[in-house]
């Protein structure tokens, strides 16, 4: 059983620091905020799942650094953002495995959907100093796929209904999340 943390921030600049000593899932929901997250995996064999979901209106930056300080540690980062307007949204996502940590898994997946023509950037960085590490990253910036919109609309959904479903699915895509913990974020999705 993993430890579960919920973080919700709204219109603020925040810094978070975590030392992970047991298997942990962090659900981070962020509304128009800039955040700096620093995570150390400090116990051998621990696994971290980090889900960052973000709605952006102004110029904001999200940076997260995960450092694997022990052997057999495992991190999975899923960073999803919707840039609503024309402002800047930047993601800096660092995964670090020093030479002293072996057989680690360090993965990250980053996506930003621009609803208009906002300027979004993703900088995925993997600093891997050991040969036996399993590490992957993915980054996508753009609109919702036209194939997905076509599929939904071919079943009778209007463009707006299809976009709404895709938006909800993109920003709350974890079955295990407790919706009561993120009421504020859900209300914000409705406003987009």
């Amino acid at each position: 059983m993993s430890k579960v943390l919920y973080v919700v921030d709204s219109n603020e600049k925040k810094k978070y620091q975590y030392n992970i000593t047991e298997d942990t899932i962090i659900y981070h929901f962020s509304i128009n905020s800039s955040c700096e997250v620093d995570i150390n995996l400090v116990t051998e064999g621990v696994t971290l799942y980090y889900y960052y979901n973000n709605i952006n209106y102004d110029n904001n930056r999200f940076s997260i650094k995960v450092t694997h300080l022990k052997n057999h540690t495992h991190s999975e980062l899923f960073n999803h953002g919707v840039n609503v307007g024309l402002k800047k949204l930047d993601y800096y996502v660092d995964g670090i495995v020093p030479k002293t940590s072996s057989e680690c898994v360090c993965n990250q997946e980053n996506q930003i959907i621009n609803l208009k023509n906002g300027k979004s950037t993703i900088c995925p960085i993997l600093l891997i100093d050991n040969y036996d590490v399993d590490s992957n990253h993915g980054a996508y910036i753009g609109k919702f796929s036209e194939d997905k919109l076509f599929y939904l609309m071919s079943r009778g959904l209007t463009f707006e209904e299809a976009n709404r479903l895709l938006l909800n699915g993109f920003l709350i895509n974890m079955d295990s999340v407790d919706l009561n913990e993120i009421r504020l974020f859900i209300e914000e999705i409705e406003k987009i």
């Binding site: 036209e146 076509f150 939904l152 071919s154 079943r155 009778g156 909800n168 699915g169 895509n173």
Partner: protein, 254 residues
């Protein structure tokens, strides 16, 4: 009645025609099958009827009950009763099957969907297509096997009750048992809704043995070169498309 009138179809921003001078009339209650070699334009035809964003109709018309649908958006065509059962249904992460189907049914009927009725209907439909009920709560097509995706398309069909069904290679990725199940469901649907028209796109006669088309058409080089009954499908199976063409000559009509 679904009418395709002498259409010319190409990819957006590319004038090279994929379909040209293609005409086909499907009366209410009829089942038509289109066969043809790879790249003949069979799937393009199905997508163009549905209004896919990659294709443009630059000549001719497509009509439902004598009204052109070319100016309609994809969702408006669906509301006219069109349903495209896709060859490779799109995976949509984060959107549950149930949420999607309920929204779609509300859009098609224009009425608020009662949750209890919806769940009862879906439970029955899922039993019919032999899909596990847990699939209803999973993300749309995510992690589904080839067979489950096709069964899920038929589940959607049963939920949305279309009048014009376009089956784009329904048989691809289906084992014999699954093919029988989906075809039995389509036949039952047609029995319950006798006005329903079906256009089957396929490479193989096996699906036609189950769905029993009234007409079989051979699509090649962008237009229908020959039409006939189900025997034409077996002729293709035996002789291939080249011989069919050489033996029959061109018949540029339905």
């Amino acid at each position: 009645m679904l009418e395709i009138k002498n259409i010319r179809c190409s990819i957006i921003d590319d004038d090279t025609p994929i379909l040209e001078n293609l005409s086909l009339t499907i009366h209410d209650g009829e089942v038509h099958a289109i066969m043809g070699p790879n790249g003949a334009g069979k799937s393009t035809l199905a997508k163009a009827i549905m209004g896919h964003y990659k294709y443009q109709i630059t000549a001719g018309d497509i009509c439902i009950d004598e009204e052109s649908i070319l100016h309609l958006t994809v969702d408006e065509r669906a509301k006219k009763g069109l349903f495209l059962c896709m060859q490779d249904p799109t995976v949509i992460e984060g959107v549950s099957n149930s949420e999607f189907l309920r929204t779609a049914r509300g859009s098609i009927t224009g009425e608020k969907v009662n949750l209890y009725t919806f769940i009862k209907d879906m439970e029955t439909a899922m039993k019919d297509v032999q899909l596990d009920s847990s699939m209803l709560h999973r993300s749309l097509n995510q992690g589904f096997s080839g067979g489950e995706k096709k069964k899920n398309e038929i589940l959607q069909l049963k939920c949305l009750k279309p009048k014009y069904i376009l089956l784009d290679e329904l048989d691809s990725g289906l084992d014999v048992d699954s093919l029988r199940i989906v075809c039995d469901n389509i036949n039952q649907y047609r029995h319950d809704n006798p006005d329903t028209s079906v256009l089957i796109i396929t490479h193989y006669p096996r699906i036609l043995e189950y769905l029993k088309p009234d007409y079989v058409h051979i699509l090649k080089d962008g237009y229908i070169q020959k039409s006939g009954g189900i025997d034409l499908a077996f002729e293709v199976e035996e002789s291939g498309y080249t011989n069919i063409h050489a033996a029959s000559g061109d018949e540029k009509s339905e």
